[in-house]
Symmetry: D2
Subunit: 319 residues, 4 copies
Amino acid sequence: MNDLIKHFNLNVDLAVEARDLVRGDTGQEIQGVEEQVEQMEHIKITTITIKDPQAVQIMGKPIGTYVTIESPPLKINDPYVKDEIIEAIVKSMEILLNKRLSPQDTVLLIGLGNWHATADALGPKFIEYSPITRHYAQYAPEALVEGMRPVSAIAPGVLGITGLETYEVVKGIVDNVKPALLVVVDALAAQNVERIGNTIQMSNTGIQPGAGIGNAREALNEDSLGIPVVAIGCPTIVNAAIIAHQAVQRYCREEGAFFNDAQASNSVKEVLSFFGGSLQVTPKEIDDIIENTSRIIAMGVAQSLFPGISSEQLELYAT
Amino acid sequence: MNDLIKHFNLNVDLAVEARDLVRGDTGQEIQGVEEQVEQMEHIKITTITIKDPQAVQIMGKPIGTYVTIESPPLKINDPYVKDEIIEAIVKSMEILLNKRLSPQDTVLLIGLGNWHATADALGPKFIEYSPITRHYAQYAPEALVEGMRPVSAIAPGVLGITGLETYEVVKGIVDNVKPALLVVVDALAAQNVERIGNTIQMSNTGIQPGAGIGNAREALNEDSLGIPVVAIGCPTIVNAAIIAHQAVQRYCREEGAFFNDAQASNSVKEVLSFFGGSLQVTPKEIDDIIENTSRIIAMGVAQSLFPGISSEQLELYAT
Amino acid sequence: MNDLIKHFNLNVDLAVEARDLVRGDTGQEIQGVEEQVEQMEHIKITTITIKDPQAVQIMGKPIGTYVTIESPPLKINDPYVKDEIIEAIVKSMEILLNKRLSPQDTVLLIGLGNWHATADALGPKFIEYSPITRHYAQYAPEALVEGMRPVSAIAPGVLGITGLETYEVVKGIVDNVKPALLVVVDALAAQNVERIGNTIQMSNTGIQPGAGIGNAREALNEDSLGIPVVAIGCPTIVNAAIIAHQAVQRYCREEGAFFNDAQASNSVKEVLSFFGGSLQVTPKEIDDIIENTSRIIAMGVAQSLFPGISSEQLELYAT
Amino acid sequence: MNDLIKHFNLNVDLAVEARDLVRGDTGQEIQGVEEQVEQMEHIKITTITIKDPQAVQIMGKPIGTYVTIESPPLKINDPYVKDEIIEAIVKSMEILLNKRLSPQDTVLLIGLGNWHATADALGPKFIEYSPITRHYAQYAPEALVEGMRPVSAIAPGVLGITGLETYEVVKGIVDNVKPALLVVVDALAAQNVERIGNTIQMSNTGIQPGAGIGNAREALNEDSLGIPVVAIGCPTIVNAAIIAHQAVQRYCREEGAFFNDAQASNSVKEVLSFFGGSLQVTPKEIDDIIENTSRIIAMGVAQSLFPGISSEQLELYAT
């Protein structure tokens, strides 16, 4: 699998999957990586902390904390499960922020991705469902419920549509608006189809736009922007190369045939033809999945940023 | 492969691929199936005619003519290639209609698919780019260029959104509007990723909505509707099961391993997890592909239905 | 005003406004028209019943019952007001249906209007927020909560986009689906700007698509379709001619000048230039108004059609 | 009228209308304001130059050049008229830029307005139809036609949706991207309905977002951004107060009644109720008008920025 990932210049977006890839079949602990699992009634929360440069090297992900919320298959929109996920998002925000956000601090929400492409619209949809208050705070404070902080939001689009790097857009806004926190939401790629729509990852390490598509570009993180960045993502696709490769590997294991990793990568490449690593696998119901997940993330983040305000009232401030 | 198709209840939408599956590696002729190939400067046109019930059985497709227009990879939007495709659509319409449409006959366009899901929006987008004239013919004939026929159009949505079978919607409109011809456009599934966005199939056999997703529902064809139906489709997805299966098969061939078809289908099924046959593979650029292809089909159909009227003028009647 | 309405071929969509126009300044009762007013905590419900052909002539509206729900200005989205409106919709549905709908009867929802034009998108948005169950009832009854009836829905678009009369589309579907009830939602025109977004009218008299724009076309009502039709509408525009005319009239009254109705209509016509009666007045925030109102109507109708099922669960069936 | 404009805090977006308001019925020249008129076959081009601070005071608009392209009513989409408009846009760009743009200079396009509100979506739609090349210039120069400059684009949304001032977003991007020119497109308000969809104004004076709605906010102009700014706008609405006021004035003139301006403003205000100056008048066909106008402006700007490249090729770079 690691060969394939290099071959197609793929990105491992989820820390729990990076851990699985490193561990392989051994299941042993990884030096410099801490892990904690909490099982709630419906959902499971895994907190992975990457602690030192050596672990960064091994895991291929920056130092920091990664919280993964996993819900039962296709159950994310079940009212009971949903409430637990929202609760988990609020709690994880607290852990990741670590008291670095004061009640009146300004927050900027960024919804990454392409609103014209269903599976990539998670970020823009998150923005749509999030309460926006900064303009009221400025021009009509009486329209706010007491204690509401200023929150603004933008979906900067993707390089292929705007010709602008996400960093160029976001950096400029941060410099002018001077928020105390950035919350960035983006669609992720998973290694396993069963994660699509069932997993939410939250981290304090920022995000590298377009990382999954093989163009290393300037990251959105505390180093580059000078403020804490909470990145929230949900897998909405699996690369087709990975699925094809998994099928070959599983076939070999089950059929008792020898598995030649390099040859497998090669066969996969031929099947994918000239589209190569740009082929994505999504469930037919991806539009519903995006819709539900973006709403849930928006509600969780809103309840974290506006504690004590009912979700009905918060909805009044969504655009 | 045939096992896999049964296993996941997949549909082979393209006649040229059905032919390839039947022929297998032998390449021999199929009884009751005629084929003609024409090579233009940039594109290739293959006309397959299924002539008798035995051929229907073998090919798994109804009696009739299937024209397949294949353009070079990723070149469909090249101005030269585009003009050739539009020309080929006009010519194919003529062959499929076989003089059964008079110059003043009313035509109804149907854009199948879900406008909320990028890869399924080909039909609705086709409608958006098509000139609509029937209301002018009725209420303001002076707004039409001399000789324009009445054309109306609807995108009936999908069962999952409306709770209505496509047939229920279309049959009702046909009964009330009494068009002389139905042109139905829908996104198709291919067996090979390289066909995505590069192939257009036109047939006079009608269409079975949702066929590819395993629910046999009432067809839109001359039998069920009482008027000629030209179906136009373009592959926008490949089922993930097919890609995974192809990778296993190719690996076995190239690695010299024995290929156990049943075991391959089984391994694929396990990899696809609970999503099963509903996982679709699309290129990342699927929104551009849908945009371009729907425009080209709309232009080709418009030039066929309104001969002698310039594309600039036709655009004035698009909504 | 009556001159102006004839002059521009305008339609008086709201029964309460038709009543006001008939009454003029006298305020006296109208023969054959009954009226009942109920004041709830936040909202006011007026029920007007047109009882005989003479009243039809005077009021310019068909025999039947018209319930008008009026909420305080700009308060429709206030949680308390919202709950009261939803309650009023449920109660009014009961009155209008008069026990003619059994618990398992199929219902068809129709969202009239143009989804590309903000102020006209009320109907299509209503469809988007309504729970759709008929396909589950047919193919996966286990996915439904016990007792959920089959509901389907379509937004047929407008004549100018499809070239199809609404009646042609709806009649066909009704013939094929055979619902026991049609619920039709459409944006209305008001005579007073303060009604925009604050008034909901429900009636059992059906609806005449495009009536407000001067093209008398086949109505959607029990006569034409053979099943009960509940029409629900909310004013989203006022015709610009009406506002201009009101300003002239008010100016004359306040300035003590003589008011020449014919000359006023004429001056208004000149100001409106070649656009004439097609100029519409909307508040800048019309997109929010449409969003909120369509959601509230969808919730009210859903709670009426699926009694005893929570709004959280109903939302799971919205598309 | 001037009273009314103050009363409702309205903005006069078009220089030709500001001139008419200043001149009133006298038609005399305005000190410090130069005007030149050119009549082409179908369209009329008026160039107004505001030359000194006193003229700024009188006209209520900054120093600079304002080119107004007027086409015959409802004819903007006629192929012949369209070509003339595009030609006029190219020529006006040249005049406004005055050789300050070199062939390889980077250009940033800004589409102001709210994409959720039909009449305000001119700017975002302009972006959609504009060729974007900067990312190719950076990552895949071989995908560009020889000589294509880097162009990027963003539609920053409106304050009410993002909580961000347009200036905050644009200033940041300009600082990071360092373009040599900003082209800003926005929907304008006119004083006369016959201008809706028939007038395009281009100026080198920049733009004041939200100016028409009464919130003076930081302008986008050469002073604030440090680079030349070409602002392009097209009236898509008229304020309802203006239409009502015009009707009163015209009525008084035609009826021979005394016109009391203050009382007229007052009557208008009462008719507009609590919506006040936020009521907008648009033709029912505003979605088509926005569609056509945004395309024409995009084509004109594209042909100006990419001289010698065919419109068919330029369309390949639009998103």
